[in-house]
């Protein structure tokens, strides 16, 4: 009982309730275009917060979240187009494939210390892009993959409408954030933290650091794969250029802008970055330039990102 009153008194609780209500009411308050942008933002929010588990908790830098997003998208689209699987089956299958790729690349690269892993993942991102581009028989190459089925209607709900799909994505988003948050605060999350803090010490306490790094990497890939699958049947057109290394870069930027090691910080990062990107649509290259400069400045002056910035402002106010 005490817990509940405490819960209701906390400002944070009300903040989250407010945000949730806003998200639920959103399609009725804004245009379809904004809803559409929010759906895309939710995909990025999933990718970014799962990346935070890898970067902020396990302390491993990777540059291929965009590739996993792409693998999830292409695999699910292909399962539904070429094999005729229902989307309810093709998305889970694509997630399995994403996880397998992550494990296959992560295993050799994570055994080594230092930047080897980061460099390998950077290359993976490029390699995956090459596959999307070159395997024309499979992916239709630079022309893009068309004719992707929408999610089949379930219980009379038609998911080809933006609003209905928005709610589906919102549910998936909420579920993945909840699971990520629970994971980060579980025993597993503590193991990740030990790897981030000091690998040698963790190892000398009997912690299998290579294993936990791999687990964190696979989880981050897995969530990106889910987002990719959902994206494929929402956008229903896949193009290799959506999944270049620049996409992976944007994920890193969103995470760091938000502030790492919090799961929620990166969500703010994803929203801020996505919406500013939309506003700056008229100057596509300039917005990347701006974000890159912003990232460098953040890294040098406020490594904790927006979350750190807010804390700093609060302290000054007091």
């Amino acid at each position: 009982m005490l817990k509940i009153t405490h819960f209701l008194k906390s400002k944070k609780t009300w903040f989250y309730i407010l945000i949730s209500l806003l998200l639920i009411a959103l399609p009725f308050m804004v245009s379809e275009y904004i809803t559409y942008v929010v759906v895309l933002t939710l995909f990025y929010a999933m990718i970014v917060s799962s990346y935070d588990l890898l970067l902020g908790y396990a302390g491993q830098l990777s540059f291929c979240q965009g590739a996993f997003y792409g693998i999830g998208a292409y695999a699910s689209a292909l399962f539904s187009i070429k094999a005729g699987f229902p989307v309810y089956l093709s998305i889970p299958l694509s997630v399995v494939i994403t996880a397998l790729v992550a494990a296959g690349v992560g295993y050799p690269a994570l055994r080594l210390r230092g930047a080897y892993f980061a460099v390998t993942t950077f290359f993976l991102a490029h390699f995956v892009y090459l596959i999307f581009l070159n395997e024309v028989w499979l992916t239709n190459g630079p022309l893009g993959l068309r004719g992707i089925k929408p999610l089949e209607a379930l219980g009379g709900i038609d998911f080809s409408s933006t609003t209905n799909y928005y709610y589906l994505v919102l549910v998936c988003f909420a579920a993945s954030i909840y699971i990520l948050y629970r994971t980060a605060n579980s025993n597993l999350g503590k193991m990740f933290i030990s790897v981030r803090e000091d690998e040698d010490l963790a190892e000398s306490f009997g912690i299998n650091t290579s294993l936990y790094k791999l687990v964190a990497f696979v989880i981050s890939a897995l969530v990106a794969g889910i987002a990719g699958g959902l994206f494929a049947h929402f956008f229903r057109l896949l193009h290799p250029s959506t999944f270049t290394w620049l996409t992976s870069e944007m994920v890193v930027i969103m995470t760091l802008v938000g502030g790492i090691g919090t799961i929620f910080g990166p969500l703010i990062g994803a929203s801020v970055v996505m919406f500013i990107l939309e506003f700056l649509r008229f100057a596509p290259e300039l917005r990347f330039v701006i974000w890159a400069v912003a990232l460098i400045i953040i890294l040098i002056y406020e490594p904790r990102g927006l979350v750190g910035l807010v804390e700093r402002i609060r302290r000054v106010k007091r």
Binding site: P108, A115, Y116, F122, A292, I296
Partner: protein, 286 residues
């Protein structure tokens, strides 16, 4: 048949020379400063554009544009070290992120400034065709290979025979002791970044007339050079050299006999195989 193989051999060596040139700088920077300097990819692009504008806008001869490219690359590399890496020294994690952000920044800045369109950098050497018993090759290609070798000899001399080279190698082996012995670490860092920027710029300006000048041109050479560093063995000069040429040859012959589409994918496979079977690299210490 023989002609094709010879022609591909020259192509492989030309591309290999570029990889080796970048990789030599990268391996020094990575092993001493502990930064896989992705920014070199952007420096490569900017150096090539500097050469391009020197020739097309200012109408200076191609040889002079090489000098301009080198100055641009060296200054850019040294400035990046001073402004972006130095404040973050001691946190390799942030340095790596900044390196990638710079790579991202320079590529997009180039697109913003000069559009993604490919440009041609004319070189008088490209027009001169040499004939060897029915086999012809442009002087530009020969120059790339010859210049690369001349530079490797020069760098080798610098590292092995000069006082400065000894100081660099001492810093690479044991930075603390080197500092105690009175070696100025900031100065050594400036030198290796200057060297890295210089080698990258030469590679870019030499190969630009053979292909094209465009904002994304630095991405693949940089990625390949990073693989060469791992493949050859971290910090190994000879590893970077041999690894670069080997990768160049594997790519050109792989493109003919295996798959053109995956010419740029072989490096990834080599990287994974190296990590699994020889994590220290070909010439690595462990």
């Amino acid at each position: 048949m023989i002609e094709t193989i010879l022609a591909q051999l020259v192509n492989g060596l030309v591309i290999g020379a570029v990889y080796s040139l970048i990789a030599v700088g990268l391996t020094l920077i990575w092993s001493i400063a502990d930064i896989p300097d992705f920014a070199q990819g952007g420096i490569y692009t900017f150096a090539a554009f500097a050469a391009y504008f020197t020739v097309t806008l200012l109408h200076f001869p191609y040889f002079f544009s090489l000098v301009v490219a080198v100055i641009t690359g060296t200054l850019l590399s040294v400035t990046i070290e001073k402004v972006c890496y130095r404040p973050l020294r001691g946190s390799p994690f942030s340095q790596l992120l900044v390196a990638i952000a710079l790579f991202f920044l320079l590529a997009n800045l180039a697109i913003f400034l000069w559009t993604p369109k490919a440009k041609i950098l004319p070189s008088p050497l490209e027009g001169i065709i040499l004939n060897f018993a029915g086999f012809s090759v442009s002087l530009q290609r020969i120059t790339v290979i010859a210049a690369a070798f001349a530079l490797f000899i020069a760098v080798n001399f610098l590292l092995k025979r000069t006082k400065l080279g000894k100081a660099i190698r001492a810093t690479a082996q044991d930075p603390e002791t080197a500092t105690l012995m009175g070696i100025n670490r900031d100065f050594i860092y400036t030198v290796i970044f200057a060297l890295g920027g210089c080698l990258t710029a030469i590679a870019a300006a030499l190969i630009a007339p053979l292909y094209a000048v465009y904002p994304e041109m630095g991405t693949l050479p940089l990625l390949k050079a990073l693989v060469v560093v791992v493949f050859g063995g971290m910090g190994s000069f000879i590893g970077a050299l041999a690894g670069g040429f080997l990768l160049g040859l594997i790519e050109t012959f792989g493109a003919i006999y295996v798959s053109v589409a995956y010419q740029h994918g072989f490096a990834f496979i080599i990287l994974i195989l190296t990590l699994i079977f020889k994590p220290g690299g070909l010439f690595g210490r462990s």
